[in-house]
């Protein structure tokens, strides 16, 4: 684990290589498992980005699904609704369609980042439970606005979004999210995020701009969630405001909590295990979610610090090399 911390760029390159290999051999692999793999990778990106806000910066957010929704709808609007209106975009070749999808995804991320900025502002004044409620409120507001907007399909949502998400895109997003969040909190600048979480007043008094740290955490987290939302929309080919409700936010929070707040590795493991596990439990129908909720309760009673606990949290901090100023 420490190896990854020290050679983060190499790890990033290797991750992208794996993603590329997966893409090359995706034709030989079982489509069902490929699909689960893609969903897992998207969930990893969501969980890691929320971990930046909840785990590393200590700002409890219950509105991550809202950012995902903004990313999904922006990107899906650009790849589905725009070609319907402008013939130029409808006649794109598959290759240029992928490029347009990349641009749409990035724009979706940016739109989500703007929302993250707006949500980040109340975090300057609120903390703890109150912040949780305000972020929950923002998520609900986004959902209701989408539900009432007829151009975006209203409560029916958007159907027939082109299936542009590739295994490469999903795995690459997961790897890049881990890279960004992992290296950010190990940089001299990012240590401010940890300081803000550990003791806000002490951080202020040694000159950390906690305000900026909090807002930045929200913006980066929302940006990555927006990207994940876009990939999710172009994988499922259908989105609906009810997908992005309170429950979705809770699902992402649960991944972060199970993985251990502030432990990127733990969160990655939790995201993959939970996605695959819930997929396997599908045969149980109704019982699936009952087991899911019981598992949350039991986990909190038995091991509230997450699967990895503080493993990989303190170590990463101790091993940080400080650059000479």
């Amino acid at each position: 684990m420490a190896w990854f911390s020290r050679h983060s760029r190499l790890a990033l390159g290797m991750g992208l290589l794996v993603a590329g290999l997966l893409q090359m051999f995706s034709g030989y692999l079982d489509p069902y498992y490929m699909r689960i793999l893609q969903i897992s990778a998207i969930n990893v990106a969501l969980a890691v980005s929320l971990n930046l806000v909840n785990g590393y910066t200590g700002q409890f957010s219950l509105g991550h699904a809202g950012f995902m929704a903004v990313g999904s709808y922006t990107a899906a609007g650009l790849t589905k609704l725009l070609p319907e209106a402008v013939p130029f975009f409808a006649e794109l070749q598959p290759a240029s369609q992928q490029i347009w999808f990349l641009i749409a995804t990035l724009l979706g991320g940016c739109a989500a980042a703007v929302c993250g900025f707006v949500v980040g502002i109340p975090s300057l004044r609120l903390r703890g439970d109150y912040l949780a409620i305000v972020t929950l409120g923002f998520g609900e507001i986004i959902r209701v606005i989408l539900q009432s907007n007829d151009t975006l399909g209203g409560a029916r949502g958007l159907n027939g979004i082109p299936r542009l998400t590739t295994p490469f895109a999903c795995v690459a997003l997961a790897v890049i999210s881990i890279y960004i969040c992992g290296t950010l909190v190990q940089s001299t600048y990012g240590l401010g995020f940890l300081a803000t979480r550990d003791d806000e007043i002490a951080a202020e008094s040694v000159g950390v701009n906690t305000t900026r740290c909090k807002v930045n955490a929200f913006v980066v987290g929302a940006f990555l969630a927006g990207l994940a939302g876009s990939l999710n929309a172009h994988l499922l080919t259908t989105i609906n405001p009810s997908h992005f409700g309170f429950l979705k936010s809770v699902e992402i929070v649960v991944l972060v909590i199970l993985g251990g707040m502030g432990s990127t590795y733990g969160v990655v493991i939790a995201a993959v295990v939970m996605t695959v596990g819930l997929e396997q439990l599908r045969a149980l129908n109704d019982w699936r979610m009952v087991i899911y909720s019981l598992m949350i309760i039991l986990f909190m009673l038995v091991r509230p610090q997450g699967v990895m606990g503080t493993l990989g949290v303190d170590k990463a901090r101790a091993k940080t090399k400080r650059k000479p100023v």
Partner: protein
């Protein structure tokens, strides 16, 4: 003017139910400082208990009566009070001294368990709530048109609120409750049995939520296992509006929220009715983080 009064009345009638749920949130928060997310589901369970009791006591064709209604209401409140104590005892008590976040996530887990458990055991399909008091009878009060069920909501809410006020302010247990919410360590040094007080708090809060559930189901007579989600969240918003931990504040917040939402539903922004509550909350917390009746806390360094 008439329609204004009518809307105001409708808003108060909706707000009264929010207020009943909000009271439970605020009491638990006042003592344990955590958001009991499962509270909205107690509201749902209350409605379901009444549904099954009504099916049991009032087979098809049996005459409905006030006595029966009161019996069902009381039993539903009692059963939910026991459920509240049970949840507190099995889940929250072992987590008493853990970080608040752990408890919060557990509360979400309990809430999901009750929702999905309801869907699994009772069925996800909406059920028609029986007419315990027969068909609504229209009542005219000056410019305001209403029916006996809506009046019933207001009357029962008022009775319960005054009973709660009496309980908290005038009884020994209520005094203990206030002491625990003031300082949980000092209260146990003074010989107050904290565990007992917390159990009573959960019982009272859950009973009020159950009453809210029964009254809600009588006015909006379809019930399903997810019915507690949105009223629960909104009631929490109401509790925060009034200043969480503050009992009169929760009642005030509930009424304000009900009125604002009803007026919004009757205006051009009716599509955004469900967002209004949260928008109001965000604005309020930005300018007055302690809530309307809450005290601003000064952070000591």
């Amino acid at each position: 003017m008439d329609s204004f009064l009518q809307q105001l009345y409708n808003g108060l009638s909706l707000g009264a139910i929010y207020a009943l749920i909000a009271l439970g949130y605020t009491m638990v928060y006042g003592i344990l400082r955590f958001i009991n997310f499962a509270h909205g589901e107690i509201f749902m369970v209350g409605a379901y208990v009444a549904y099954f009791l009504a099916g049991w006591f009032l087979p098809d064709g049996a005459a409905s009566s006030w006595l029966m209604f009161l019996l069902i209401l009381m039993l539903s409140m009692a059963i939910c009070a026991l459920l509240g104590i049970g949840i507190e005892w099995t889940v929250y008590r072992p987590l008493r001294n853990r970080p608040r976040l752990t408890v919060l996530i557990t509360a979400i887990g309990v809430s999901l368990f009750l929702q999905y458990g309801g869907q699994t055991f009772i069925g996800a399909d909406p059920k028609a709530f029986p007419k315990i008091l027969g068909d609504p009878v229209q009542v005219n009060m000056g410019p305001v048109t209403t029916n006996n069920l809506e009046l019933l909501v207001l009357v029962i809410t008022l009775i319960l609120m005054f009973a709660l006020r009496f309980f908290v302010m005038k009884t020994k247990l209520g005094k203990a409750m206030r002491a625990v919410s003031h300082n949980i360590q000092a209260s146990s040094l003074m010989g107050i049995n904290n565990d007992q007080v917390i159990a009573v708090t959960f019982a009272v809060g859950s009973a009020l939520a159950a009453a809210g559930g029964v009254l809600y189901a009588m006015n909006y007579p379809t019930i399903d296992p997810l019915m507690g989600l949105l009223p629960g969240l909104k009631a929490f918003v109401a509790a925060v509006l009034g200043g969480i931990g503050n009992i009169p504040g929760a009642a005030l917040g509930g009424l304000i929220l009900g009125v604002v939402e009803t007026f919004a539903a009757g205006s051009v922004v009716s599509d955004y009715k469900d967002a209004i509550a949260f928008g109001l909350l965000v604005l309020l917390l930005l300018f007055r983080p302690g809530g309307l009746l809450g005290k601003a806390t000064v952070e000591k360094v």
